[in-house]
């Protein structure tokens, strides 16, 4: 859920109201002028109707130069954007022959396969010569070549499912599969922010559709219980079957799906699961196998896995992977298999080759490098954007990062200003997002170099200042990481480190620890965190603490219930801030007292503040020796110099990690002090 500040909501509504009123005003005069002219409709009803048409004519056309910018090169890290001009107030745009070389932050070129590739391109051209660009036939007629069968085998083994079927277009994959699987008397439970292709597929199926709140497993459970108990509407017969549809990475939010929890709920209520990995397959996970790999979910738990080849693989088409029987059934009756033209052979070859590169079957480690690069790039870019004070949505590791704009006037402003500085960004408005929640979206690619990203950040920062979208004003940022180590029961006592040893890690070191934990691949156990628990944890025993959790969002989930939660807290009483900070904010139970925040706190005291912090919570804490008071998620803020002092200790801890099954208990990544969003600049 995105919480819009009141003022922003107000100004956004006002802007749209103004645009609407002005548009209606113009329409009124247009009608008056056209009064005398003969009616061109001649008995037909107008072909474009109502508000939709009004929106296009009076709102969209004003800023249409921000969308659909043509390019004249491959959508690589840098591309050529064709310049356009308009002689009629943006109603029509004309191309020129001039191009400007821009940094591409818009394409879904996650792994950098969009441009010519030393391994893929020669093979694609060879395939083109052998098979021509098209088969001109559907899969079931004469459109199945050796290549298509090979592709299906590759895809199935890549996503770790017994069988797969491929289609010529990702959108069609969703919209033609759902009607095959579901029908009357069936129930589709869909995430509220699912892609339009899923929505259309669900509508086309004739099944009943219910929606659960975006990415909230508890609401999904509520809906499931209610629906199973109620049965079909009116007849109250039991549902024939229920399918839950979620996406791996939500393309407009950049969020990762809470897959393990959702799978657990679905299993409990015997609902089938359908996972759309359009944006996540190839882009996340250690070997690029998508969210399942990233979040440690067994693919056997997911009934239908869907994905597209347009994004990470730099090709076109989509796939469905599942059990042998499922695929057999789809081949028997799916309209997209029976009637639609099969995947173009060169595109099929591109997919096969890129999968081979990702898996290292090409004889190099380029695939692994690409995967490491995209992760590093995305996390770097995201954290830098956050530091600048942009309101960035989405989770770590996700290469998609939306920056909230809200006000309609900021959409073209941001887009045009960035383009002026040769940075091409995507701005998204209605109908792809709700009217109020317009945003800019950045897609990071493995082909971006560090210099590219730094340049982009400079430009975005500058434009952000100009446009006024750095909504979170940051007073101070302290970059350090504190890690408590809590030893689980099984650990022999001799190897336990001294109790309550706060460890400060540099960013990189923390990554190593987290990575190690991941590699151990322990079973996922998770903790559902409620606001109440958080309040209790954070405020601890200090009753006088007036801090209150405003919102929180999980930003990382690892093994053993490890969870990093970003908490945004609101200080309710200014005067108490100083005391509160020392008593409870600064590692309430750790006794670290390492922090010298006085300089910052003086600045803070003058204003109402919100604190944003990352908390790492572990259910194992109760048994640990690191935290004698039980599972208290305290934290420590350390200065950078402090880190050097405990580096040696960190090394020891790392060694412990290697030897023992340890649980990373708490981790503070960043403390951000910020004021209330400042909007009306």
């Amino acid at each position: 859920m995105i919480a819009i500040p009141y003022l922003t909501a107000l100004t956004t509504y006002f802007s749209y109201g103004l645009l609407f009123a002005f548009g209606q005003f113009r329409d009124f005069f247009r009608k008056l002028i056209d009064w005398s002219k003969a009616n061109t409709l001649q008995g037909y009803a107008p072909i474009c109707l109502g508000l939709e048409d009004f929106y296009i004519r009076r709102l969209y056309l004003r800023i249409q130069d921000c969308f659909g910018r043509p390019i004249s090169s491959a959508p690589d890290a840098w591309f050529d954007v064709v310049e356009r001009y308009s002689n009629d107030n943006n109603k029509t745009l004309k191309r020129t022959t001039k191009v400007s070389r821009c940094l591409n932050l818009g394409s879904y070129n996650y792994l950098g396969f969009a441009a010519a590739d030393e391994y893929c391109t020669p093979r694609v051209i060879e395939t083109l010569k052998k098979y021509s660009p098209s088969t001109c036939s559907s899969r079931v007629d004469g459109g199945t070549t050796v290549l298509h069968n090979e592709l299906e085998k590759y895809v199935a083994s890549f996503v770790r499912k017994p069988a797969a079927i491929v289609f010529g277009m990702g959108y069609v994959t969703n919209s033609a599969i759902l009607p095959v699987l579901m029908g009357k008397g069936c129930l589709i439970i869909s995430d509220s922010l699912n892609h339009n292709s899923i929505v259309n597929g669900a509508r086309g199926s004739g099944a009943t559709i219910r929606v659960f709140q975006h990415n909230i497993p508890s609401h999904l459970e509520e809906v499931l219980r209610e629906q199973i108990a109620d049965g079909q509407p009116r007849t109250h017969r039991p549902w024939k079957k229920i399918i839950v549809i979620v996406e791996g990475i939500y393309s407009m939010e950049g969020e990762l799906c809470k897959l393990p929890e959702i799978i657990a709920v679905c299993k409990k209520y015997k609902a089938y699961t359908y996972l759309d990995e359009a944006h996540s397959i190839g882009a996340v996970g250690k070997t690029g196998r998508g969210v399942c790999e990233l979040l440690g979910v067994d693919t056997a738990d997911i009934d239908i896995m869907m994905g597209t080849f347009t994004k990470s693989f730099g090709s076109c088409g989509g796939y469905i992977a599942g059990s042998e029987d499922l695929i057999k059934y789809l081949k028997y009756t799916c309209p997209a298999h029976l009637y639609a033209t099969s995947v173009s052979p060169p595109a099929a070859q591109q997919i096969i080759s890129s999968i081979r590169v990702i898996l290292g079957e090409d004889g190099s480690n380029r695939g692994a490098q690409k995967l490491a690069k995209i992760r590093e790039n995305s996390n770097f870019f995201r954290s830098e954007l956050q530091k600048m004070g942009f309101e960035v949505l989405g989770d770590n590791d996700s290469p998609v990062m939306p920056i909230m704009l809200y006000n309609p006037a900021k959409i073209p402003a941001f887009s045009r200003e960035c383009l002026k500085h040769n940075v091409a960004v995507v701005t998204v408005a209605f109908p792809a997002t709700p009217l109020l929640l317009a945003r800019a979206r950045i897609c990071i690619s493995a082909s971006h170099s560090r210099e590219d990203l730094v340049k982009a950040l400079q430009v975005i920062s500058k434009v952000g200042d100009l446009v006024g979208i750095k909504m979170l004003k940051i007073v101070g940022v302290i970059e350090s990481i504190c890690v408590w180590i809590v030893i689980v029961k099984s650990c022999p006592s001799s190897t336990r480190p001294r109790a309550s040893t706060p460890m400060v890690f540099e960013d990189q070191a923390a990554k190593v620890v987290v990575q190690k934990l991941r590699e151990e691949g322990e079973e996922n156990r998770r903790l559902v965190i409620s606001e109440v628990i958080l309040n209790e944890w954070i405020n601890g025993s200090s009753k006088q603490n007036p801090a209150k959790v405003v919102t929180y969002q999980p930003i990382y989930e690892g093994i053993k219930g490890l969870q990093i939660v970003r908490v945004i807290m609101k200080q309710t009483q200014k005067t108490q801030l100083h005391g509160v900070k020392k008593k409870s904010f600064m590692g309430s139970q750790s006794g670290s007292g390492l922090v010298d925040m006085d300089k910052d706190s003086r600045t803070i005291r003058e204003q109402q503040v919100s604190l944003e912090r990352d908390v790492l919570v572990s259910p194992e804490g109760e048994n640990g020796v690191g935290d004698p008071h039980g599972a208290r998620a305290g934290w420590t803020v350390g200065k950078k110099g402090f880190a050097a002092g405990v580096k040696e200790q960190c090394r020891q801890v790392e060694a412990l990690f290697r030897r023992n099954s340890l649980c990373l208990a708490m981790m503070e990544r960043k403390l951000r002090l910020r004021s209330e969003p400042t909007h009306s600049r």
């Binding site: 008995g43 072909i47 474009c48 109707l49 939709e52 296009i56 659909g68 390019i71 064709v82 394409s107 070129n109 396969f113 893929c120 391109t121 694609v124 051209i125 083109l128 010569k129 052998k130 098979y131 021509s132 660009p133 098209s134 088969t135 079931v140 007629d141 199945t144 070549t145 277009m169 990702g170 959108y171 069609v172 919209s175 009607p179 339009n196 259309n200 499931l224 219980r225 199973i228 108990a229 039991p238 079957k241 209520y269 089938y272 347009t310 994004k311 730099g314 076109c316 029987d325 057999k328 799916c334 309209p335 997209a336 639609a340 033209t341 173009s344 060169p346 995507v426 998204v428 792809a432």
Partner: protein, 482 residues
């Protein structure tokens, strides 16, 4: 005993009479004696008011307890995700080379009648050259939807080229032929609008009709009388019809029967009843008409009379994708309202470049069209004499459609017979023909059949080989059934 009772009755009566004779009971209202009624009526009124003031009886509402819901959830057993399939699905032959007029299956060269490669452009050198230079320049995929840097200059070039070729103001390029119709229809027709469609339209159109949520009325396959009656019915019955958007949806060459729609008659009806026409030219674009401009050219109808024309580029143009052409207003509306255009990554640029080249080739080589027309008429003539099979397709349709003369009664058995013929034709004579497989979702109830896609690349010898083989095999297969 009886006396005592009588006494009691008498005293009661006296008392009642006394009560009624009381001074108040003898009151007069506007000169009328009201008698004792007043008391009784007042009493009744009080009773009625009392009863009304009481809550009506409602059975107490008892929502399910958590435990009961738990039990219900435990009890519920879902159906399997997919119904169990008794038969093995049809396994299509696997091609080992390009799907041109001749292809390789199981190491054997066969004549290919399964590919809608009408102009024989698969493997055309110019086409391959334009593709490989596009691949070098643009890579394979476009990595984005049209709105977000997925618009490559070749897309715009293609849109301009196709509009110029067909003589329309503008056109829009879709990433997949299959998605063109089911995106374009819901963009223009919403709940309440009326669509009159042919019952033989293919699934992509059926899906578009369903997704639009409009009122859909089907008329008999390619039957103008039925169309007129349907239109008459709708316009006479519905008074609000003037306010609604009304469409006729037809295919130029029906994929499900090979018949050609009589466009001139449809236009007459459309103008009479004021309907708009959506025409799918997937199997006629690049085939019909003097210069391959499709059904409009073939039937001499100016293209402006049609409102929306769509076509699949995966047929005559030997590329992939689809386009829609029409007035600027119609096209611009789709750029923001058509789901398959807005929410999907755009067409790989090399395919757009292939399609541009394909149109160039078509314009430069009119002999391709005459060759194709000649091939169609030769094959049609030859196949009209196949024993046991009947041609349903039009003489000029590039799809030659053969159905069983005598259906067995069930579509499944028909399909089995036809499949047997197709299989034997392939195995014995190396001629690759296909049977029209239907999805269980397909609402089209036209008879199934063997489909031959004629190409300009077929030689006379290929055609003869196909027809002779079909004749021989169907006589053997169907001969036993008569």
């Amino acid at each position: 005993m009886a006396e005592a009772f009588m006494n009691f009755v008498n005293t009661t009566l006296d008392w009642v009479t006394g009560a009624l004779d009381m001074p108040s009971a003898r009151a007069q209202v506007f000169g009328f004696q009201i008698g004792g009624h007043l008391f009784i009526e007042v009493f009744l009124l009080v009773v009625i008011l009392f009863l009304l003031s009481q809550k009506s009886y409602k059975p107490p509402k008892r929502p399910l307890t958590n435990k009961e819901i738990d039990e219900l959830c435990d009890e519920w057993v879902p159906e399997p995700l997919i119904p169990s399939l008794n038969e093995e699905p049809y396994a299509p032959p696997v091609l080992e080379s390009a799907a041109g007029p001749h292809t390789v299956i199981n190491g054997k060269e066969v004549v290919n009648f399964s590919s809608a490669n009408y102009l024989g452009l698969i493997g055309h050198k110019k086409l391959l050259d334009s593709c490989s230079s596009a691949l070098d320049k643009y890579g394979v995929g476009s990595c984005g939807p049209r709105g977000f840097y997925g618009t490559i200059d070749v897309h715009l070039d293609f849109e301009a080229r196709i509009a110029k070729f067909l003589g329309t103001p503008d056109s829009i390029l879709y990433p997949f032929g299959f998605s063109t119709m089911f995106s374009a229809i819901p963009a223009f027709s919403k709940k309440g609008d009326i669509i009159v469609a042919d019952e033989g339209v293919h699934w992509a159109i059926q899906n578009g009709l369903y997704l639009s949520r409009s009122t859909v009325v089907y008329f008999k396959h390619n039957d103008m009388k039925s169309l007129r009656e349907t239109l008459e019915n709708i316009t006479s019955k519905n008074k609000r019809v003037d306010k609604l958007r009304r469409y006729i949806v037809v295919e130029a060459v029906y994929q499900n029967s090979g018949q050609i729609a009589p466009l001139d008659e449809i236009i007459k009806l459309k103008e009479k009843y004021k309907f708009r026409v959506l025409l799918d030219e997937s199997n006629s674009f690049g085939v019909l008409g003097k210069s391959g401009r499709g059904l409009t050219e073939y039937s001499g109808v100016p293209i402006e009379k049609l409102d929306i024309v769509t076509a699949d580029m995966g047929h005559a143009l030997a590329a992939e994708g689809g386009f829609c052409t029409g007035s600027t207003r119609v096209i611009d509306h789709q750029r923001l309202s058509s789901s398959g255009y807005v929410f999907s990554a755009s067409l790989p640029p090399y395919l757009a470049s292939a399609a541009i080249t394909a149109i160039d080739i078509l314009e430069e080589n009119p002999e391709l069209l005459s060759k194709l027309k000649n091939n169609i008429s030769v094959l049609w003539k030859e196949l009209s004499k196949v024993p046991g099979l009947k041609i349903t397709s039009n003489k000029e349709s590039p799809i030659v459609y053969l159905r069983l003369e005598k259906s067995t009664g069930s579509q499944k058995d028909d399909l089995c017979l036809l499949e047997k013929i197709a299989q034997r034709v392939l195995e014995e004579d190396s001629v690759f023909v296909v049977v029209s497989h239907r999805s269980t979702l397909d609402k089209c109830r036209l008879p199934v059949g063997i489909r031959l896609f004629v190409s300009a690349g077929h030689s006379e010898y290929d055609l003869r080989r196909a027809s002779e083989s079909l004749k021989r095999v169907s006589e053997q297969v169907l001969g036993g059934h008569d």
